[in-house]
Symmetry: C2
Subunit: 233 residues, 2 copies
């Protein structure tokens, strides 16, 4: 089954503090965005990649990506004011009719090929698949004043990552539905959930962290070193 990938790189990365948006920062000698794109560039099932960047960044993103990518493999699209608008803009930029669409955050440069394989297989079977990890800590629900309201049963809670993989018709109809009803969500699966479609979870990866602070960038470098050492053994 053929897949397209949409990589969301349109965030402003306010928490990084520096002048550079996080997706362009170097991680072990390579920009974070390029590492995130390589997951899909290197995968045989992926036939189209759309990278969504801030509207004023399309040229610099093209300069960064194109030398590293075979001609025509990566298309740059201009993002919107929110992540959801940016993904929507990425969906509109799809030109092929791939059966599956992977939505990924550029800020997660360490997702593995094995993870993508699991997700593609699960999405092919169930229509929508997302990677999750079990929280190591007890989860609490708090009120606006910071007092605990409840302790939800941890056994049934998961932390969700990207890539999230969907059948093309399912993600398109979820975004149409969200636009029609004015729904907002912090991940794409939530929009699919709102259409009543099942979303299956597959085991994610602790190393598949999201880089949102300078410290995360150092942790990611540390994980990369680890992976290299494991591969060299």
């Amino acid at each position: 089954m053929r897949a397209a990938a949409i990589i969301a790189a349109a965030g402003q990365g306010a928490r990084m503090g520096g002048p550079m948006r996080k997706q362009y920062l170097q991680l072990e000698g390579k920009p974070v965005l390029l590492r995130s794109a390589e997951l899909f560039l290197n995968h045989a099932a992926v036939e189209e990649i759309i990278v969504v960047v801030p509207a004023d960044d399309t040229e610099s993103a093209a300069e960064l990506l194109q030398p590293a990518c075979p001609p025509g493999t990566v298309k740059i699209a201009a993002g919107g004011a929110t992540r959801q608008e940016s993904i929507s803009s990425g969906l509109s930029a799809l030109s092929l009719k791939s059966e599956l669409v992977c939505v990924h955050d550029a800020a997660r440069p360490l997702a593995s090929e094995a993870l993508l394989d699991r997700l593609l297989a699960a999405a092919e079977r169930h229509g929508a698949a997302v990677p999750v990890i079990t929280p190591g800590d007890t989860v609490k629900e708090v009120n606006g004043e910071g007092f605990i309201i409840s302790t939800p049963d941890r056994e049934h809670l998961r932390l969700v990552q990207t890539p999230q993989v969907f059948r093309r018709d399912i993600i398109l109809s979820a975004y149409r539905n969200a636009a029609a009803l004015g729904l907002e969500a912090t991940d794409d699966a939530a929009l699919v959930e709102r259409t009543g479609r099942p979303v299956v979870t597959v085991p994610g990866e602790f190393s598949n962290l999201k880089i949102t602070s300078p410290h995360d960038l150092m942790l990611a470098a540390f994980w990369l070193q680890e992976k290299k050492e494991a591969a060299d053994k």
Copy 2:
């Protein structure tokens, strides 16, 4: 206000894989358990420390801790089959009538003095205080087959850490209540919540990770290096 500390070190650390229980592993040249105990040894408000270890470990724990601790500051207690039983055994071993009781996991060796200060102040004011961080990822509720049931509003969810600090009467009555009703929970705050008492949250620390795998031990070493470098600047 005076405080006692109970350090839970009675876990079997099955996930570490090695022959050694995680609390005895070396972290940058010092056992994890000793680093966790030092938080309380070095704090002026703490007048009594109970370390709860597996029943067959009391001698080796004493050998490990006592050379590093002033005589009489640390008492070793034998743990039970569950964390909750172990804390209960620690509560029974308290000999002074400290107003506050801190319950801490030995597997969190990096909690800072500033965090403990915040917790003591908040527990003095509200009776029960726990450190929390905001999950960076969207949280999902799943069913037994791994399908997503719901996406709880992330704005109100927190991941809870230790130390958790309580007024002595509040934690004692929570444990009595749990024993009477046969309640089990993954953290102490949940037992207090079940008595209807308020529990306030204070900002936790990303570096205050729980060591449950060999990888966590390496991450902890990395955080320690970071803290040293920050302190040297």
